[in-house]
Every structure is written in C-alpha cells, then in structure tokens.
C-alpha cells in the first residue's frame, strides 16, 4: 500500500486545511491545542497578580483587558476574576490537554504504532477536528459578549450558572450560554474521535499485532476512548438541560422559592441542583483519567526507549489501565461528599476511591521498577518522562486525604484541592505531553529539536512547576477557600500570603520558561538537525515508517513479529529489536 496510489495531487486546502490524513489532523490538533494551553495559562498569570497583590493594578496588560475584566485603574474585578477562573479551567481541560493528548498524539502516533495507513474513518476524523475548532472559537468569542465570559467556574454549578451572565436584553448572547454551546460542540468532537479511535485500534492493526503486542500508549488511548465515549454523553445531556433552564426558563436545576438579591424568582420550581452535579461529575471524574492515561502511555513509551529494557510488567500495566478506566466511573460522588451525603453513600464512594488508588500505585511502581538494571539515557524527552514520576506521585498521594470523606471535610474546596489536581494534570500530564512532543518531533518533521533549548526548557519548568503548586498544599491546609478574589479578607489568607506570592512568581517564571520551547518548536522544523527514520533506536512500528511518513504511512505494510519493547534482548545484534523485523535479521 504505497503513497502513490493517489494519482491526483491534492491542493493546499485539501492537503493542509481540510485534510483527511490523520497526520495532518494530528498536527492541526497539536498546534491548536498548544496555543490554547498557552492562552489558558496566560489567563492564570493575570489571576495570580490579583492573588499576590490584591487590589493593585495589573502591570503591563492591565489597561488592555477591557471593561468586563478590569476597572478603570486596571485592577481585576471580582467578576473578571471569576470569568478568568472559569475560562482557565475550561480551556486547559477541554481545549488544551485533552485535544493535545488524544487529538494530537492519539491521531498522529496511534495509527502509526498499529501499522495502519490511516484512521478507520478519515472524514469523521477531519470533522472532529473542525468541530473542536468551532467549539474553541465559540468559547473564545464569549470574552467579547456583553457581561463577559462565563463566570460560574468550570464546573458551572447551578443555580449560580442558571442565573449568572444574564445581562440586559441578551438572552442567548451571553457568557454562560455560549459556554454551554461550546461545550456541546467540544463533547461532540470528542465523541466522534472516540468512535474512530476504538474502531481503528480494533480493526486496523497489522498482521501479527495482537492486543498484547500493542504499545502501551495505544492501550492508554484505547481505554481513554471508552471513557470519552461513555462519560461525555451525560454531560451533553446536562448541558442541554442547563441550556433549557437558561433559554426556555425551565427549572431542572432550580428548586422552588429562590430569592435572588431580594427578588423572588418566577419559575415553576421542583428542580434539583444536585442533579447537575451528578451528571457533571459522572463525566468529570473519568475526564481526569482521560487527561492522565495518554500521558502515562507516553511516559511508558519514552521510559522503555530510554532505559533500553522492556517495560516492567507490561501486562500488569495494561490490566491496571483497564481497571482504572472501569473504576473511574464508580467514584464520581467523592466530589460531592459535602452535599449532604449519608454514611452509606459516603462509605461506598470513599471505598471505591481507595480501590482506584491501587492500580495507580501499581502503574507508578511498574514504571519505577522499569528503571532497575536499565541503561538510562538522559535525553530531553526522558527528562520530562522522569520528572512526571515524582510529580504524578505527589498528585496521586494528595488525592488520598481528599478521597477519605472525613479529612475531606477540612480540605474540600480549599487550595489543597487545586494543588492536588494540578499536580496530576500540570506537572504530571503536561510535562509528559511536552516530553511526547520532543520524542515524536523527529517523526513528524524528520528533524530533532535542539537539545540545548530543551534543557533550557526542562529545568526551569521543573523547578517552577513545583514552585507554583507545592505552596498550595500549605495554603489549603491553613483553611483558605478556593476561588477567592482576595483571600486576605480572612486571617488565614493573610497568614499564608507569602506562599501565595511564591506561587504567583512561580507561575510567571513558568510562563517565561516556555519561551525556549516555543522557539525550539518552530525553528527546529526547518533548522533542526536532520535525522533518519529511527533516531531514538526504538522498537515500535511508527519508527518503521519514513520521517515524515508519506501519505499512507508505510512504504510496505509491516508485520509485527513480537511485543513492543524488545530492548537489550540477549544475543541480538543491537540493543533494540524492532517489532517489524523478523528474527532471522536481528539475531
């Protein structure tokens, strides 16, 4: 199946814009989501100013932010702070990390790793990117509508989200409604993608590539796709219900007799605010694993390649990931311990939460054990993958006090929670994803990224990631609620103001630390060192294709002869043993 099956030469638009090629779509996803990541992070850099120096004008950008975010002096408004917070969360999760991990890496790497010429449904693939793009544009447009962007948090709890952002005569054209519409688009995009992924993985594997010969990354994508497939629709349903509440004045989430600002609300009543929370967290807990599993998959690939030995306990890892995926549907109400839960339900949910921590521990342990008797190459992707391990460990461990309902009483909705999930998602997932960019960049462009700039990117990022997030544990333990525009209203907040400032300076440092990466990412595409098809001396099938792979991927359809991580096999000619090369040629 070679690339010159295509007699016609597609034009620029169909080649690079509305392309059906999974590789182009993967790159589109990657670049778009990296831009969204940086944008979402910038919102946080603005918020960190208000937290560190409450009530002082924002330097540099304060004058540009517009009347919905800042006052005349350039001081962030409380509602502007809430808008930025809600949009930061939404953008980072739904427009940044998931599209990068699944849309970007999944799309580009997964078909190559299974030896497929493309995804099973190329048109659907293109559609899912453009629906995602439309969702992103819709989301961003909400910054410019009257009243500003959604400001009820990324969790959008009603009744607040039902009554928020209803300004003047604009029933549709307001932040929260646009947020809901954008979410519906993003969910649709993820659903299309997940169907495509599952069919591709099940049907398009090359000969010899059994399920237990799949690279770990493919397994991670497989489980992730099921999470997306089954967890997202309830949020879509919830979104539709909230849209009806906002647009048609229904009261699914509104109980009877609310009085807002002294005005009795007119509607039929009889709704339940907790209904939204159930539907939301039914998605949003599996969503955590959607964020983390592809990252674990990437870390597994990089570690196997750079330790020059097979991943420890490959099957254990696979079973753990499957179990993790399954259990992630059964723990959601641990986000709701404080909504009036009795003993039976809290016991159920904290028990399942403790159970789900076990496969996480197993995965981490297996990855750590893979280092034993290895021959570790400290390449740039490896540095990112290695840094993932301890930081993910912190993120995972700090989940324990939140998962036990009794300690959650004190820590719920404090900065401790923020510290916890950011350790999982930012120093954890994002570091792994950045490692993935360095790792597969040569495959995409045929050139390596600069190692020097890579180090300049890695070390400050590693230090600042911890500077930003570690202090949050102290702030949270001290009892400071999250989402406060000015935590110095409380004496607890004043006491920890030093930690808060440290966090803020860390965030700005982290922003600066991304500059070498941005330079590296764009310049290496034409100035990087040219490399051959398999620069890391790796074993999985994507390295059997030329770099960059042509349309149709493989010059010759590969056959898989063995498992994915046959490194340092005794008696082999070289220390790696690619999946597609028969035994006769390597031993």
């Amino acid at each position: 199946m070679s690339s010159d099956h295509h007699a016609h030469n597609p034009g620029f638009i169909s080649k690079y814009v509305f392309s059906l090629d999974h590789k182009v779509i993967g790159v589109q996803y990657t670049v778009t989501s990296l831009i969204f990541l940086f944008f979402g992070f910038s919102l946080m850099m603005i918020m960190r100013w208000q937290l560190a120096y409450p009530g002082e004008a924002i330097p540099l950008v304060g004058g540009w932010l517009g009347k919905y975010l800042v006052d005349n002096n350039g001081v962030l408004l409380p509602e502007g702070y809430n808008s930025l917070g809600a949009m930061h969360g939404t953008i980072m999760v739904f427009l940044g990390v998931v599209p990068l991990a699944v849309g970007g890496f999944g799309n580009y790497v997964m078909p190559l790793q299974i030896g497929a010429p493309d995804m099973a449904f190329p048109k659907l693939n293109m559609a899912s990117y453009w629906v995602y793009f439309a969702g992103g544009v819709t989301m961003l447009s909400s910054f410019f509508v009257p009243g500003g962007a959604a400001n009820s948090g990324w969790t959008a709890y009603p009744p607040l989200s039902n009554i928020a952002n209803t300004v003047g005569t604009y029933p549709f054209w307001n932040g929260q409604t646009i947020w809901l519409l954008a979410m519906v688009l993003l969910i649709t995009s993820s659903l299309l993608g997940s169907v495509n992924f599952i069919v591709t993985i099940m049907h398009l594997r090359v000969k010899g590539l059994t399920m237990f010969r799949l690279p770990f990354f493919v397994w991670a994508q497989f489980v992730t796709s099921f999470l997306l497939l089954l967890a997202f629709p309830p949020l879509e349903a919830a979104g539709v219900l909230q849209l009806m509440d906002r647009v048609f004045d229904t009261s699914f989430f509104m109980p009877s007799g609310l009085v807002v600002s002294g005005v009795v609300q007119e509607y039929s009543g009889g709704g339940s605010p907790l209904l939204w929370q159930h539907l939301f967290w039914f998605l949003a807990h599996p969503e955590v694993y959607v964020l983390i599993l592809p990252a674990i998959g990437i870390v597994g690939e990089i570690i196997a390649n750079n330790t020059r030995r097979p991943l420890w306990g490959y099957k254990t890892l696979v079973y753990s990931v499957i179990f993790l995926g399954f259990m992630s549907f059964v723990v959601w109400a641990h986000h709701m311990f404080l909504t009036g839960m009795g003993t039976a339900m809290s016991t159920f949910f904290q028990t399942t939460t403790m159970i789900i921590s076990i496969p996480s521990v197993v995965i981490l342990t297996a990855l750590l054990l893979s280092l034993w008797q290895a021959s570790i190459r400290f390449t740039v992707p490896m540095l990112f993958a290695l840094s993932f391990l301890p930081m993910f460990a912190i993120g995972g461990l700090t989940g324990l006090p939140l998962g036990l309902s009794a300690s959650d009483i004190q820590l719920h909705d404090t900065y401790y929670v923020i510290g916890h999930f950011h350790y999982v998602v930012a120093p954890g997932t994002i570091m792994a994803l950045l490692g993935g960019v360095y790792f597969w960049y040569p495959k995409v462009t045929g050139r390596k990224m600069s190692t020097l700039l890579g180090h300049l990117h890695f070390w400050p990022s590693f230090v600042f990631m911890n500077t930003v997030f570690f202090p949050m544990f102290m702030v949270g333990l001290a009892g400071v609620s999250r989402r406060l525009w000015d935590q110095t209203e409380y004496v607890q907040g004043i006491d920890v103001q030093g930690w808060v400032r440290m966090s803020s300076w860390g965030a700005w440092g982290l922003g600066l630390a991304q500059l070498p990466f941005i330079i590296n990412f764009f310049f290496s595409a034409f100035a990087g060192k040219k490399v051959d098809a398999n620069p890391w001396k790796a074993t999985t099938l994507e390295w059997a294709a030329p770099s960059p792979p042509p349309h149709g991927n493989f010059a010759e359809v590969p056959v898989a002869y063995r498992g994915p991580y046959e490194y340092s096999v005794p008696n082999a000619k070289e220390d790696f043993h690619p999946q597609h090369i028969p035994d006769s040629q390597v031993v």
């Binding site: 609310l258 709704g271 097979p310 009795g342 016991t347 912190i394 009794a406 209203e489």
Partner: protein, 329 residues
C-alpha cells in the same frame, strides 16, 4: 509550631482532633512513601545511568519489594478508611444530637453574600418563613408576622455573626436562599454545602470561646524599623484583621493596630507586639457563589454558656454585623 501541625489552623472543636489525626497520619504515610519511592528513584537514576551501566538487563526485575509496597499501601488505606474515616463520618455526619443532648438548634440561611443565622427564641420553635416576605434589610429570611405564626414572635435573626455557646451541641439546619454556598469554619473543622431547596443538618461542639481561641492564635510580630514607607504600610495592611493582645500603653489591649499606633510604638522603642485575629473563628464560603464569593464572610462569637444565655435573652430583632464597625472588645 505551625509546621508541626501540618499548617492546620488551631482546632477548637470537639471532633476536630479526629479529623486532624487522619490528616496527620495520612501525610506522614504519604511522606514516608514518597521518600521511599524517591530514594529508590534517585538511586536508579545514578546507578543505572547509561555511563555506569552501558548494557541493560533483559527480563523482569524481581518484584518482591513492589508487592510488599503495594500490600502496605492497601493495608494502610484500608485501616484509615475503616478505622477512622467511616466511623467519623457515621458519627459526626449521620447521627444528629437528640433532644436529650439539649442542642442549640439554629437555622443558617446562606445568600449572596451573607450568612443569616435564625434563632428560634425562647420557645425553641422556628417561625414560618415565606420567600415573598423577604426584605434584604429588615427581614432577610422572610419570617412571617407573629400574628400569622406565634412561634415567629420571639425569633431572632443575626446577619453575619453567629453567636454560640461553648461546650454545648450546636445543631445547624443549613439552607440557602439563592445559589449553592458552603458553610466552612476552619477552626471548627466544619464544612457543608448549603444547597437551595434542602435543609441539611450539621452539628458540632465548640470547646473554646473566642478569647481562648485568640490566645491560641496570638503571635509576636516584629515591627518595621520605620513607621513610614512601604514596609510600614504593608505591615498595617496585612495585620488589619488583628488586635493587640497586651496593653502597649498608647495601644490598649484589644485595639486594631493602625498607622498612628505604629508611629507611637516605634517612637517608644517597641520592637515587637503580640497580635491575634480580632475574630478568630470566621465563617468562609467555600463554594463559588458569584462575584462576592470572596467577601461572604461571617464571624462566630463563642461565649461561655452563661454569657451566651445572657446574650440570648436580650437579643433584639435583626442584627447586622459589619466587622469594620464592630467594637465590643
């Protein structure tokens, strides 16, 4: 001292120590686990770097230590779960005090952005409320007239200040007028979402009065070298919620330190003062509830039981608490 209690604020409640124990045990467990993993991790990075170990070994390393580690993790998690967390929840969240315990029962009605504390008065019965009667200034919870419901006659509503006795069960029936709030009192280890449409019960017992809590939280602060300039301004700003705990002549005990005070103190050669929060037991809103979420602050005032009775029998109608104007110390 702070670090030894894991940065937690002082605990003045009866049940708080049990929550703190879980938090502390867990953090020790996490720290030990992390250090163990971390040292193994660092050892591997050094010992098995490509320079020192050019040839990796094929095949699985022995997994015994990992199995032991996993079993230890499972056992400790199970112990914390079964031994601590579930019982604490079962007792403090599912078994409300009975009449025999003689609890003080109050309703707390959250709203954007204030806490309304509704006392039943001497008859111990809450008057009816109706949403259409709500008047933000005069009748924040919409209490009916005594002619409609006699029980409402002696009811009393306090806005943003929660008067409570020490050493007696306090049963709060928590609800909300508009959106979801969360009633959080860090010093009492209490937190519960206030969900509109539901009246969720929580209960706790304070074991310290405000003054005793203040004693626990007092701390010496070094005064800045000069009473002028940015450092002095920041000192005042960052200590605006604290009062002096001793008489410093020009600054009497219980006064909030201001720029004028600072000037006279520095002039008199004082280098440090003992300060504590004027209202140590504050109520925060822990659930995003709108633009005023950050300033939805209430205060608890915990009295000796007899002082509480004295206050309770003399309480008026609606009392609105504004911290900046409050001056009863």
């Amino acid at each position: 001292m702070i670090a030894s209690s894991f940065w937690l604020p002082p605990d003045i409640s009866e049940h708080g120590s049990q929550i703190d124990i879980i938090i502390k045990y867990l953090h020790w467990f996490m720290a030990i686990l992390f250090v163990a993993w971390g040292s193994y991790f660092l050892y591997c990075l050094v010992r098995f770097r490509a320079g020192a170990n050019p040839k990796a070994t094929y095949g699985d390393a022995k997994a015994k230590p990992s199995k032991v580690a996993e079993i230890v993790v499972i056992v400790i998690e199970a112990a914390l779960l079964v031994g601590f967390s579930i019982p604490v929840w079962a007792y403090y969240r599912s078994e409300p005090p009975t009449n025999a315990d003689n609890p003080l029962t109050v309703r707390v009605v959250a709203q954007q952005f204030a806490w309304n504390i509704h006392y039943p008065g001497k008859d111990g019965v809450f008057g009816k409320t109706r949403p259409e009667l709500v008047d933000e200034a005069l009748n924040p919870i919409g209490l009916v007239d005594a002619s409609e419901d006699p029980a409402a006659g002696d009811d009393y509503v306090s806005v943003n200040i929660f008067h409570a006795p020490k050493g007696r069960d306090i049963l709060v029936r928590l609800s909300s007028k508009d959106v979801i709030h969360s009633f959080a009192v860090p010093l009492l280890r209490v937190k519960q979402d206030a969900v509109p449409g539901m009246e969720i019960p929580i209960w706790f017992k304070a074991e310290k009065t405000n003054e005793e809590a203040q004693e626990m939280m007092k701390r010496a602060f070094e005064l800045p070298a000069s009473a002028e300039g940015a450092e002095a301004e920041r000192f005042i700003k960052e200590n605006r919620l604290r009062v002096t705990m001793a008489d410093y002549g020009s600054v009497p005990k219980g006064a909030t330190l201001n720029a004028e005070h600072l000037k006279t103190l520095i002039a008199a050669g004082t280098t440090s003062v003992e300060l504590a929060p004027g209202f140590p037991v504050n109520i925060q809103c822990a659930q995003l509830c709108g633009l005023g979420h950050y300033r939805m602050k209430g205060q608890m005032k915990i009295y000796e039981p007899e002082d509480f009775e004295a206050w309770y029998s003399s309480a008026g109608e609606v009392e609105v608490f504004d911290e900046d104007e409050f001056d009863d110390e």
